[in-house]
Chain length 351, copies 2
DNA sequence: CTGAAAGCGCTAACAG
DNA sequence: CTGTTAGCGCTTTCAG
């Protein structure tokens, strides 16, 4: 096989020769150094264009000790939840002229550890971890090396660990209160994956809202979910099969809420007339469902961009952020999947 | 707060000193060079561990002229379609010990061009583009510089452009035939985004299957979609509002098929008794819907990994692949969303 | 304002 | 088997 070897890349020296200046001058114009004679600059720029010069990032990183790359570790991106966060990250990254190195763990926890401890290190200046699982295993090692990293949607606050999340308790509290104000007395709740910190906060928000309104906590009305749609479906079915089914259900995320909706529709229930449904996250699809889903909005994109900016500050040592854990506010978005249970109750649900 | 400046990274020289060998020896053990005295190796390994040595990729790339990084350009990853492809890429990448630099264009075509022509160059050894839009604008420039790149799910075949796709025509043909064999005579079709080449192939597969079975082509039964669920919903509604609605519909992807299903269920139709539905892609959710969706499986993961391997071959100049355009086979997966229309027809169609 | 020169951390001949 | 020695392409003093 003898295809001509990949053309030798044009370097700063080629440009220097072409423009008839020293190569440090070329470097200066590449880096927008102020004190360069405008004619000289002109010459160099022309030469660069003529030759199609593209800076070698490796070399640059080597001398600067910085790669302008940050690592992003995600579980997988099969959910809009992650996609939205990444979008926020992406925008912040682009603004800052950094690049993004992607690592997906596909639920394999070892992968998370491996990536973090070895790979990301050599290439990335910092690390972003979305919805981390095995943090405990590598957190220490990273902190010890003072390697900058920020966790997204992580609850526990240890010293020197930066994280951004949202007001999960408040969100669930608000959603539950909304349902209660509508007149619902039996409200089902589908939890998230209980290994994730936010799941507990949301459950507590639900319980506390119940208590605050003098409503009893009924274990039959709490179904253990996992953040995926099928569990939502199962939970919906289970609730609706109850002797006294709830008139509303709050799911710990939108995916599961859609599962509940499918279950309800499949059983001939009308939403919201016969069953009110509330989700959590406000992923883009919430507006496309029928009816559009009432949900607790998490500022996903903002979480991503906030975390990114925090990380960039850490990397550039632009002052230590005083608050290591940033909590962004959730917001209840009322659409058409919730309504008062009254009319329907008059018709079918005798008490 | 005055955290000590980021600790100086430990280099190969530190390890050399610690292990009392020359630093090229350290390099040898790092690179698994065979001829190293096992005792020496031992010493070095210990020193590395004691110091927590991590190779500086930048330096390594600089001298090798390769970064072991490949660029991935995607539209956005809000769909399982992309997520599945990326998964395939991801696995192949990991196997080959490469890393993945991610660029999302978010539908902004300029971004695609910018990324491709400037950024990817400095850092990545090659480029993967999923479902490219503005390829024409940069293809030439890349080829000219003999910069390796592979397109995923792209139809047009130009010289020197490598791409991997699947048998779209055949897939649609098979799905349509399946419906016809079941006894359907009026089959609706929802197209994809017609700016994407595969959309036309699928439409043709549908038309040709109709023709091959002596069935007429009825323009009323073709709805223009865009690959997103809401359009599927609208198309489903439109079909069902027809005076003589189809008894089956084939959607150009699963997302839209789910839209059709939602529309049908919402109107009180049963699936598949009153309406058979077939999708395209076989994204993971197809098994979770109710009923599970019959669909045309595209080997998404395989497309990703095949493209990656091709790219890696190109990068490593391990022989020129003789076929620039690889077409992977689709496969009809029959689940529960399709059935013979007969029973339902006997009962008639009042709702 | 601009050249010269010293490395950044590592690999890869080249001698032993 | 192992040490020595050139660079890889670029930034950054240090002198002019």
């Amino acid at each position: 096989m003898n295809r001509p070897r990949t053309k030798r890349k044009v370097t700063i020296k080629d440009v220097a020769r072409e423009a008839d200046v020293s190569y440090s001058t070329v470097s200066r114009v590449v880096n927008n150094y102020k004190y360069v004679n405008s004619e000289t600059r002109e010459k160099v720029v022309e030469a660069m264009e003529r030759l199609g010069y593209i800076a070698n990032q490796q070399a640059r990183s080597l001398v600067k000790g910085r790669s302008q790359v940050i690592g992003l570790l995600i579980h997988s991106f099969e959910t809009s939840y992650v996609a939205e966060i990444v979008r926020g990250i992406d925008d912040a990254i682009a603004d800052a002229q950094y690049d993004l190195l992607l690592y997906t763990t596909h639920r394999r926890a070892e992968r998370e550890t491996t990536y973090v401890s070895n790979i990301a290190h050599g290439l990335a200046d910092g690390l972003l971890v979305v919805l981390p699982r095995g943090v405990e295993t590598y957190m220490d090692s990273l902190s010890k090396q003072s390697y900058p990293f920020v966790l997204i949607d992580y609850q526990a606050t240890s010293d020197g660990v930066y994280a951004v999340g949202s007001t999960n308790w408040q969100g669930a509290y608000d959603a539950t209160t909304h349902l209660i104000k509508l007149g619902h007395r039996r409200i089902g709740f589908i939890t998230g994956d209980m290994f994730v910190g936010s799941s507990e906060d949301r459950l507590n928000g639900y319980r506390d809202a119940l208590a605050a309104n003098g409503l009893p906590y009924d274990p039959d009305l709490v179904y253990q979910g996992d953040f995926f749609k099928p569990k939502g479906f199962d939970g919906g079915r289970a609730f609706l099969d109850l002797e006294k089914p709830p008139t509303a259900v709050l799911a710990s995320n939108d995916e599961m809420a859609f599962g509940v909706m499918e279950a309800a529709l499949g059983l001939g229930y009308r939403v919201p007339e016969d069953l009110s449904i509330v989700g959590f996250d406000d992923i883009p699809q919430t507006v496309d469902s029928h009816p559009p889903l009432t949900t607790v909005r998490q500022p996903l994109q903002e979480m991503g961009s906030t975390a990114t900016k925090l990380l960039l500050d850490l990397i550039e040592e632009a002052g230590e952020p005083e608050v290591p854990y940033i909590k962004l506010p959730t917001e209840l978005i009322v659409r058409q999947s919730t309504a008062s249970p009254d009319d329907s109750m008059l018709l079918n649900h005798s008490r």
